[in-house]
Symmetry: C2
């Protein structure tokens, strides 16, 4: 292929940027910090969406759509958030352009809005302002909604998929009659995210709760799933917030209980975004390009014909179509790359770069033998297999690849969780091995902040079902009742 | 139900607004001109999306995503559009909020953008600016992309679904090596829209081409599908534009032909929006509420249990679940409304309001008889049918309803196309019968404009495959070679 190769081991960040670009996943837009998701990248995102949407519906949620723009005053209602919320937002101040005397397009100064509007960084405010009129009685609860949308946070340092000013996501917003029910929902959605990450992305995740430093401004508790990338950095892949009654109080949303009392409504919100594309890329890919788990691959298998003459081409084509049909009958998605503008070697490299899990090469001699050559993207193993019974063989192999990708990532992740018991050990392991550091911490925000300033490592989470164990904080030596997970993170 | 009923015949516009609100389809948002699409409304939109997306993919298109914000200067590049393009746009001028000394949230005056950004009213500009780097050679063509997105046009007078400042839509943007190929694409997508409108929405449409007055500012030709609502007003339901080389020239997008020459690329764009929800509502609904064609109904059938005692409830429940399962095996979507908070009569009215095509009422006596009571939403016919064989019966009946809804709308539409041959006749028929007026027109924009100012009727389209017929313009008496369709429109 016509691009420079940088190995992961040489420059992980450059390797990532090249891969996103060369595999046709995304590119930077003319507007600073925004991205264009290219068709191949978008096809992977669509597969993620479809599966997540199915899981949301299976757990009783419906989709809806709330407006892009939020009046500035709404943000003031979230008292608690006045300090905490992200202020790097896109602000709409005018509603008209006009052509001036020089035929230049200018913003019409007469079309200034009375109140500025903010492009949603997240939709709690507008949604809870709406729930006020939807909820009167316990009969109106629970409300279990999700929205697929674009959101915007003005970012200075951006990286495709991982951190962009505009990104795509889903945001669930639920309303409940009791704290217990809201907590069950919060944890249920965390489980949905974890299951999705492990069985579709093939990325093992640690479920945990954030420290108060890292909790979403409007939340009582923030639950998260944390994955580990191949460079030993952690990536927060999804969050599920127990919002308590914070938004109900900010937007005055009360309901009449069965007993006739007026109470504030309990809330959750939860989201995953196009950041998952970054996780997918960084967890599995190699120096040849993307490695896609079959469950999310737009094409699970590519067939590349090998021929010299037109007559050979026709023969190979016929057989290839036959194989394609057989596979498609088994719900395997197949690309037959019949372009005559490129040589097989070029195609091999291109589909390797694009991470297609399996590749079939087929030529006239293969047809005579009743075989094809099969190459696995994840292990690069090649084998010759019989065309007869190919559908069952491939179906099983795709399942095996899905597992193998997960197991490889899991064994890397598991071997990257390091127990450290002193400050020396902490800094040394962080420097030399990266990954997660399982360490005692005294539970204070001050210590957490200090460690972050000293090492750039943050507490990724307090794992759920954490073992209780007496110890002393690695930095301060103060008593601690459990280890938490530190890491450098994206 | 707890709301005021207004009949279509009394006040069509109020009837529409009430219906949208009471059937839980959508509501106005806190931001002027924007709407909240409620879960039931969104579920119908999702069904539309799924089907359209399938049809786009079957015709070779892929989805992608381009940024929400467009630099103001991009609009200047569309020379032709400097005058013509819609200037009522939301303008982003700042990128940060801050908390002032009084703890009020204000726009940070230090965070002013160097160049203002426009929330996309449509994405030709940003997409063609991107295509410039994607297209070098004929080998890179065609590009067949679609995007599902929110767009924004600042509207002063809004109506839910029909005209809102923010709306959801899809926009196809394709690039081709020849004018012929781009024209074939333009017409193909018009056919896709027409097929979708007729077989899913159940709304007959007239395919035509717009006059130059009504052509999209950046287009050479605008094709459209026009539907007729029950009040005799026309609704433009979708457009497909042949853009010629306009955008390629504005954004300097050239390609090398097979022969090695450099040429500008040919383009199309095409879109339908949440406006189709308005078409669906206005074409079929009646004074009792929504009438949904089975192909787009979130639930095709609702089962309502009728019982007095707990014992009866249990028996009815069991049978209802059995029927539900049988129907679901046949891909029929079923809602079992087992709420014990509401009486059957209330539920009947609610699901009637929400337009569910079929309703089953089932009680203890029905079970004894092995029957259920079945009510059709569109005709309000009731019948008693056997539970045995119910799946095949319902499956066929749903198909019949889909056809019946279309036929009813078509016979109304067909009887609402009036040939008129004089100005007196034109104004009289427009006043008394509404609908489409098929009339001769002298082909000038001036006459078209005059007729619009005199009567509010516009030329909806010049139908494709229009009969050529010599005549004289209804207004000016000047010669004309064909009739065109006038109507008042949304």
């Amino acid at each position: 292929m016509a691009f420079e190769k940088v190995k992961r081991s040489e420059n992980y960040s450059e390797w990532y940027n090249n891969l996103v670009k060369n595999a046709d996943l995304a590119e930077h837009a003319a507007v600073k910090g925004c991205m264009i998701i290219k068709p191949y990248g978008y096809a992977i995102w669509e597969k993620m969406q479809q599966q997540l949407d199915k899981m949301f519906k299976e757990t009783g949620h419906s989709n809806a759509y709330f407006p892009l723009l939020i009046p500035k005053s709404f943000f003031e209602k979230e008292e608690k958030n006045a300090e905490g919320f992200a202020k790097e937002c896109a602000v709409v101040t005018h509603y008209r352009l006009k052509v001036d005397e020089n035929r230049k397009i200018i913003v019409d100064p007469d079309a200034k809005l009375e109140e500025e509007l903010i492009i949603r960084p997240t939709s709690e405010a507008i949604i809870w302002n709406t729930y006020r009129s939807w909820i009167q009685s316990y009969r109106d609860l629970p409300i279990l909604l999700n929205q697929w949308a674009n959101v915007m946070r003005w970012e200075m340092r951006t990286r495709l998929f991982l951190r962009t000013s505009e990104f795509l996501w889903q945001e669930g917003h639920t309303a409940h009659a009791t704290a217990e029910e809201a907590l069950v929902e919060t944890k249920q959605m965390l489980d949905v995210y974890a299951e999705f990450a492990e069985t579709f992305l093939g990325v093992p995740v640690i479920k945990g709760v954030k420290t108060s430093n890292e909790t979403f401004a409007g939340a009582v508790e923030t639950y998260c799933i944390e994955g580990l990338m191949q460079d030993g950095k952690a990536l927060q892949m999804g969050t599920s917030h127990f919002l308590g009654q914070n938004f109900a109080k900010a937007f005055d949303v009360k309901f009449q209980t069965k007993e006739g009392k007026l109470e504030y409504v309990w809330a959750t919100s939860w989201g995953v975004s196009t950041r998952l594309m970054g996780a997918l890329i960084m967890a599995h890919s190699d120096d040849e390009g993307l490695v896609l788990p079959p469950n999310l691959a737009p094409f699970q298998i590519v067939i590349i014909p090998i021929y010299k003459t037109d007559e050979e081409r026709a023969r190979v084509q016929e057989k290839a179509f036959e194989i394609k049909k057989t596979l498609e009958k088994n719900n395997i998605s197949v690309k037959f790359d019949d372009r005559d503008t490129h040589k097989p070697g070029f195609k091999f490299a291109e589909w390797e770069l694009k991470g297609v899990p399996l590749r079939i090469g087929i030529g006239p001699r293969d047809i005579e033998n009743g075989t094809i050559e099969l190459a696995r993207r994840d292990t690069k193993e090649k084998s010759v297999i019989n065309i007869e019974g190919i559908d069952i063989f491939i179906k099983n192999l795709l399942e095996e690849i899905q597992s193998a990708i997960y197991i490889k990532a899991k064994s890397f992740r598991d071997s990257s969780i390091h127990k450290v018991d002193s400050w020396d050990e902490f800094t040394k392991v962080l420097e030399e091995k990266a990954g997660f550091l399982s360490a005692h911490w005294d539970g204070t925000s001050e210590t957490e902040e200090k460690i972050k300033n000293l090492t750039k490592a943050t507490i990724r989470c307090i794992p759920l079902n954490n073992e209780q164990e007496v110890g002393t904080c690695v930095l301060t030596g103060n008593p601690s009742s459990q280890r938490v997970l530190f890491a450098k993170a994206y």
